[in-house]
Symmetry: C2
Subunit: 429 residues, 2 copies
């Protein structure tokens, strides 16, 4: 298989696909020279012929059938950029069965079927590269696999969803409501027409699964990730958090605890001095704590066609080198092992809580009693504003087990003077 040129087939010519083609066309000679392998684009497949034609490629390079790539013996590397589970999964399986390396940006697929696909790749002495599946153009997968290979990572904390980070940034800076900020994000292309996967935290959860698998060397069961979206956060919460020295972020948190892995996605109060607090707008950042390395953070554009294309082509370069020099590089995932998971109920955090209450004598006493009985101790209690006979109360607890806090909260909400629908946001320890 030792050969000077390596041939590439690309399936999917959407936003990222055309970004990859642009970058490839502009830089293919430089990349080929740098890696010592000539890269050749052999074929591009998309079911949508007009979209394919718009790429202005020679006719013989385009096809509406992915099979023309998967079954072409000349092609060494298949880039899968169609997204979603099927048919992407079948395409990748078929590519591996046909002896091809795979490069993919498919986060959903790698989060839910990554283990089995990587196992198949190993069985075939091939590999799947998926740097572009998390964090757009930020190098993350490769540093986790290679640079931190000697360390024991005990925590990773990421701002891995640009849409929600943009929304929180705008809400704070321009005193917007969540819906206003979302509408703006959609107008600017930072949010999808259907933003539910971002807003509800599912997109972040998939990325957390991929990163945690690499960081902790474990197979992750998606059902074990606690996921809470951003809908419950108001401008008021963001402003109050700021007053006490915190910035609200949607965080993906993975922790290796003595009892197992704890994985969660939820809005979080981040101390203003923490490096993650200054990650604004649509930017992403992943903060990693290792026993030896201490703290490292990777920051950059978490999405976008051009940044993501750099990650795809870095993977293509690595695959091409693996083919040229006959060496598999992705040998690290082979240690993926089973582990136990710690449910959110057993985690210990501090909580920010905001609610409205009828301003009657004795309310604070009932509140104190409810918290005291469940052994939830309070770090601060602030009465914020008064609307007629209604008071707005903000409080922050000391560290407490989730279960105990939720029990106390239920009791608090049973107090007749306390209004329903409080804001509850966990703090980053």
């Amino acid at each position: 298989m030792d050969k000077e040129s390596v041939k590439i087939g690309l399936i999917g010519s959407g936003t990222i696909g055309s970004g990859v083609l642009d970058l490839f066309r502009n830089n293919v000679e430089r990349i080929s020279e740098k890696i010592g392998v000539t890269l050749v684009l052999e074929k591009v497949a998309d079911r949508d012929l007009p979209k394919l034609r718009a790429l202005q490629l020679p006719e013989e390079l385009i096809t509406t059938s992915a099979e023309d790539i998967l079954q072409e013996p000349e092609i060494d590397i298949v880039i899968e950029l169609i997204g979603g589970i099927e048919p992407a999964r079948s395409f990748i399986v078929s590519a591996l069965e046909h002896g091809k390396y795979v490069v993919t940006a498919n986060k959903d697929l790698m989060a839910t079927h990554g283990d089995e696909l990587l196992a198949l790749a190993r069985e075939k002495d091939l590999n799947i590269f998926y740097e572009a599946s998390v964090g757009g153009g930020i190098p993350l997968i490769r540093p986790l696999k290679q640079s931190l290979v000697s360390d024991r990572i005990h925590r990773l904390v990421g701002i891995v969803n640009g849409t929600t980070n943009y929304i929180f940034t705008r809400m704070y800076q321009d005193q917007m409501s969540l819906d206003e900020a979302l509408a703006e994000a959609q107008k600017l292309g930072f949010a999808e027409p259907d933003p539910s996967s971002d807003i509800e935290g599912r997109d972040a959860a998939y990325k957390l699964i991929i990163l945690s698998g690499l960081a902790f060397g474990n197979s992750i069961d998606p059902d074990q990730v606690y996921v809470e979206g951003i809908k419950g956060v108001t401008y008021q919460d963001i402003a109050y958090a700021k007053e006490i020295g915190y910035t609200v972020k949607l965080l993906a948190i993975g922790e290796k605890l003595p009892e197992g892995l704890a994985l969660r996605v939820h809005p979080t109060l981040v101390p203003d001095k923490h490096p993650l607090a200054s990650v604004l707008n649509e930017f992403n950042a992943i903060y990693i704590e290792g026993d030896a390395v201490g703290e490292v953070m990777f920051y950059g554009p978490g999405a976008g066609a051009k940044p993501t294309a750099t990650a795809v082509l870095a993977d293509v370069a690595e695959a091409a080198r693996s083919i040229r020099y006959q060496c598999a590089n992705g040998i690290i995932e082979k240690t993926y092992s089973k582990t136990s998971f710690v449910p959110i109920d057993d985690l210990i955090t501090s909580f920010y809580l905001r609610f409205l209450a009828d301003d009657r004598p004795g309310v604070f006493a009932s509140l104190a009693e409810a918290f005291g009985d469940e052994e939830v101790s309070l770090d601060m209690v602030i009465q914020k504003r008064r609307y007629g006979n209604t008071a707005e109360i903000v409080l922050v607890t000391h560290d407490v087990k989730e279960k105990a806090f939720q029990k106390a909260l239920a009791r608090v909400l049973d107090i007749p003077e306390i209004k329903p629908n409080p804001s509850v946001i966990r703090l980053l320890a």
Copy 2:
């Protein structure tokens, strides 16, 4: 050469060397399993026998002669951690001549002789890995070589010296003088007993040379780097900068301009909103701008035995995989080419300038004339304090060519009422 175990010789058992040994002993089984190659520590050499003995290694593993490692046919990888130019350079040459891969943390050597050593490694079909030479535990070399291979980097801006960053952070936070902050840094081990290489910017310049070589693919002549240390910066400058929205940092800046590479190290006013402004204390960060990726930043501990050891062992893992799978990986530097350099005189920047002046009528008019004649236009002029008959004046220019600014400055300093020794700090564009 295909073999299941790879043998390592370590030369230099100082701070980083013993950090590497600790991390190796704790994690060697996990690392070996992850990379699919058994790593074996074969020998440790140090001229200082008591220091060697303190490592508590079996007698047969230690030696006072590096030759016992360099000439041992069983050893596949030599880790060089003695630092400095000689004998480190001869050791690395000898290791390559004897067919061994090399891992080094030697910044001075790689900055000044990297090209020739890497050329020799290529000639021998071997490689030198030097991730630990810049940024301690922060993955930098590998992302630059691999992850950003498809992009064109046009600028890199780094806080690459932890000592000076710690000093500036402390000066601001505790209103210290530079000498007080330096003394504290030395007490805490963040600064060497002889801190001149840090304070004068030479340490940062070496790191800039290594990073720029990789980012821009050029051979760098160390004489082409403009280097200015931090001695001219006072607490007052840091405080005034803060008032106008800037943080003072010692930056290493590499830029690819149409006329060639511009490389410089100097104290710089960084806008508070820039991600580099929030890098505090002894932390390092490297901010990279690429045509496609946009902006990425890598943040972490720039020094320290444990973090640096993770970088050394990541390199050992890569070398071991290269040996096991018979594939060279460091093929990227082979495109190093000659380029022209842009002298600092021709660069365009804004300047912060602070000086004292006798408070007499006509001083501002002379000042305005001096700047006007050299076509230096002013963005802001602030009269800060008055001591008796002396006024303190702070001004910030618009963008101007260095040469023109320096000419105007010389004229300003010729005005009899203006005192000598102004503070001059460039702004980050």
